[in-house]
């Protein structure tokens, strides 16, 4: 859920940059087939609601999670004319590649989990277990394929919601912030500019 903060940041940046015209710019954003995103999210909910446990216990949830990426990529494909959504698609693809390379879940190391869960110890995070209520699996660095694309970036305390995220997550967040700045070539902006003139 931490990535949803990108929407708040994008909105704030837009309000600072464009002030009273920010909302008009956002209203000009055109998204096609948004139901694909909602369907993808619905398919991921069983995994996001699964408590910690062995990977074998979440086979169905994992299959639904992997299937959801088809809908996300279809959404990006149908909105291909938007540069920001192309970049978001690149982020989704980065995450998908590392997820597939590691057996179907996003790898996270025990060391990273200790960083984001203050007061916990390495022994609390056994390798191979699903990190509860997330898309992550606990794997040591040496057993992680494409480690650079896994959840290695950390927002530690005193950030109110400590979290670890991947390069793909960062790309998606940046794309959403960029998208919320609106399209300079859109009709709404032309209206704004003509009002200014």
């Amino acid at each position: 859920m931490i990535l949803a903060l990108a929407v708040v940041v994008g909105l704030i940046v837009s309000l600072i940059r464009y002030r009273s015209f920010a909302l008009e710019r956002i209203a000009t954003i055109s998204l096609r087939s948004t139901w694909l995103v909602l369907l993808a999210l619905a398919l991921q909910m069983p995994l996001l609601r699964a408590p910690a446990g062995l990977r074998q216990h979440i086979g169905v949830q994992q299959a639904l999670f992997l299937t959801s990426h088809l809908f996300l990529l279809a959404f990006v494909g149908l909105n291909w004319r938007s540069t920001a959504l192309k970049i978001a698609g690149l982020g989704v693809l980065c995450n998908l590649i590392v997820i597939l390379a590691n057996g179907g879940l996003m790898p996270i190391t025990p060391e990273t989990l200790v960083q984001i869960n203050q007061g916990s110890s390495l022994a609390q995070w056994p390798a191979g277990a699903h990190y509860g209520y997330s898309k992550d699996i606990i794997l040591p660095k040496q057993n992680t394929v494409l480690w650079l694309l896994s959840d290695i970036l950390v927002l530690p305390s005193p950030f109110p919601w400590p979290a670890a995220f991947s390069l793909g997550d960062l790309i998606i967040a940046m794309a959403i912030i960029a998208l919320l700045q609106g399209s300079p070539s859109s009709l709404g902006v032309l209206t704004v500019e003509s009002r200014r003139a």
Binding site: V7, V92, T112, A173, I176
Partner: protein, 44 residues
């Protein structure tokens, strides 16, 4: 109820509803596309 109706007419304009819809869809895209690990997940 009258006050709610007034607020709805005043603020839930088609443009504002579209903006809210876009923001919600982008939040959904962030949640579905990303795979962060946050505090609170419990180890196995």
């Amino acid at each position: 109820m009258k006050a709610l109706n007034y607020l709805w007419i005043r603020y839930a304009t088609p443009t504002n509803r579209k903006i809210a819809y876009i923001l919600l869809m982008l939040a959904a895209l962030a949640v579905a596309g990303g795979a962060p690990g946050a505090t609170g997940g419990v180890g196995g």
